[in-house]
Amino acid sequence: MEPVLDQSTKVKTQEKKKLRWKNPIIYTVLILFALVNAYPILWMVINSFKTSQDFANNQFGLPKEFTLENYFSAWQTANLGTLFTNSIFIVVTATALTVLIGAIASYFLSRFTFKMNKFVYTFFIFGMLIPIHSTLVPMFILMRNIGLLNTPITLIFPYIAFHLPITIFILTSFMKAFPKDIEESAIMDGCGIFRVFWSIILPMSRPALATVLILNFIYNWNEFSFALVLINDPELQTLPLGLASFAGQFTTNYGAQMAGLTMSLVPILAFYLFLEKDIVKGMTAGAVKG
């Protein structure tokens, strides 16, 4: 045993020596990566507090005089209050409904055996393969035909329809893992099928529910293409759509653009920093499975 131990300590000291000179290189590369990733955002946030003259002369430094002028101008001209309200209403409604409807469907798909079960499940999962952009034109025509173009609830329907597949996929695989006898004992106690869902299955699924809630929230909050095609009333625009058309109109008002973008970043950044672990888990699960 002695020589082996010896060798291993020798290797370790060698390794330590190597690590010592390797570490600065590794850190340099990593810091460079972090800078490339974060500096564009940081640059925008810092410059949003500068006057236009300050921005022109001094891009890299901190503001010479700190101004909120850009923020007032952005809030007024970009109609940010309305955009925020619209986005929050649509995102919250669509997310809540997707998860609720998806959870009920997943409950029956995971806990019951019936003839069409496998078919219905596969049919839902197929939705993950539909390229959303191939549905923009027919979606526009469909919405026009049923009179749902440009209404406050328009976007809720495609958002639910296109996120049900991943929601059902994640919830079904989670619910399938519960032992069978849970419901059996509950049903013997005289609980109804929906009671079992509401008071047993749903509370037990909390971790998976958190994943799909986060996933739906972020997808819906960031969604752009359906909004672009289905909404053109400025009063009904969501935040991404409103920001894009604001930037298109005021191309050279850099300050206001940066202020508007910064304001729209705050909620999602706060959300990310508070729930980082769950968000990272949810979004990687969504990507890998989607």
């Binding site: 640059w43 923009l136 034109v137 025509i141 469909l142 639910i160």
Partner: protein, 291 residues
């Protein structure tokens, strides 16, 4: 008997809301686009059946093939940009390193942001007059390299591809980090004892052990980059001179600016099958199970 019927009824009831919304708003549009693709229609007057003419017009339009080509550039940039960079950073991070958590947080940050915010931010950064990149080049005395990044047809696609890569490196970084944590330390320790250096252990042990994950990442990249629309729509809207046009954008502009709903539907149908075939093909080729 009654209980069984009740049960069936409840199953039906429980699946109904999801099924109805999914059928109407996801499946029906696909089927409708097949139907419209055989029609000539400006969206208002009566439809006229034209057979396969939309499709033959499509394959004869050089601008359509231009958008296909650009779309393939996006796929290639994602596969050969995002995956190697993410793997490299993940390998660097996969050791006892101070600040791992901070690097991870910053690494994943762009993935959470909306594509519109990213596009608009990069538009400001790439701005030819006072964007960050040109200012930076001038500050270090390389002002001669300053470009009209998004306005010059020679540079626009390269600039856009850079942003595409930037946006999603973090996603693959996290996926690779998770896979690397499952590589058992003992194997690496044993190899080190046999005198293998880090370069060798990385290429001979670590990378082969996470190969499945790398394949998954490549497939995700292909599927994801076929969806590129928002980013380019906001950054350049396909310009200048169609140099950044991709399929979805071509379809969008043909449909809504030229009011050719039938023709746009034909392009939609093409995108649908093109994506399905490419995703299914890459999965099959790389040995991944479908769904």
């Amino acid at each position: 008997m009654n209980a069984a019927r009740n049960r069936k009824f409840f199953i039906f009831l429980g699946l109904l809301p999801a099924m109805v919304i999914y059928l109407i708003f996801a499946i029906l549009p696909i089927l409708q686009s097949f139907y419209f693709s055989f029609m000539e229609w400006d969206g208002f007057s009566d439809m006229k059946f034209v057979g396969l003419r939309n499709f033959s017009d499509m394959v004869e339009d050089p601008l359509f093939w231009n958008s296909v080509k650009n779309n393939i550039y996006v796929v290639l940039a994602s596969v050969f940009g995002q995956v190697p960079i993410a793997l490299f950073i993940a390998l660097l991070l996969n050791r006892k390193i101070k600040g791992l958590k901070i690097f991870r947080t910053i690494g994943f940050l762009p993935v959470v942001l909306s594509t519109v915010v990213i596009s608009l931010t990069w538009n400001l950064i790439l701005n030819s007059e006072n964007g960050l990149i040109n200012e930076l080049l001038r500050a270090i005395g390389l002002g001669g390299l300053a470009q009209n990044w998004l306005g010059d047809p020679d540079w626009a696609m390269i600039s856009v591809l850079g942003v595409v890569i930037w946006q999603f490196v973090g996603l693959y970084l996290i996926i690779f980090l998770a896979a690397l944590q499952n590589v058992p330390d003992e194997v690496l320790e044993a190899a080190k004892m046999d005198g293998a250096n880090e370069w060798t252990t990385t290429w001979k042990i670590t990378v082969p052990m996470i190969w499945d994950t790398i394949i998954v990442a490549v497939i995700l990249c292909i599927a994801g980059s076929l969806k590129t629309f928002d980013l380019i729509y906001v950054m350049t809207n396909g310009g200048p001179a169609h140099s950044t046009d991709v399929m979805a954008l071509y379809m969008f502009n043909e449909t809504f600016s030229q009011l050719q709903y039938g023709y746009g539907s034909a392009v939609s149908v093409f995108i649908f099958f093109f994506s399905l075939i490419l995703i299914a093909g890459s999965r099959k080729l790389l040995g991944q199970k479908m769904i």
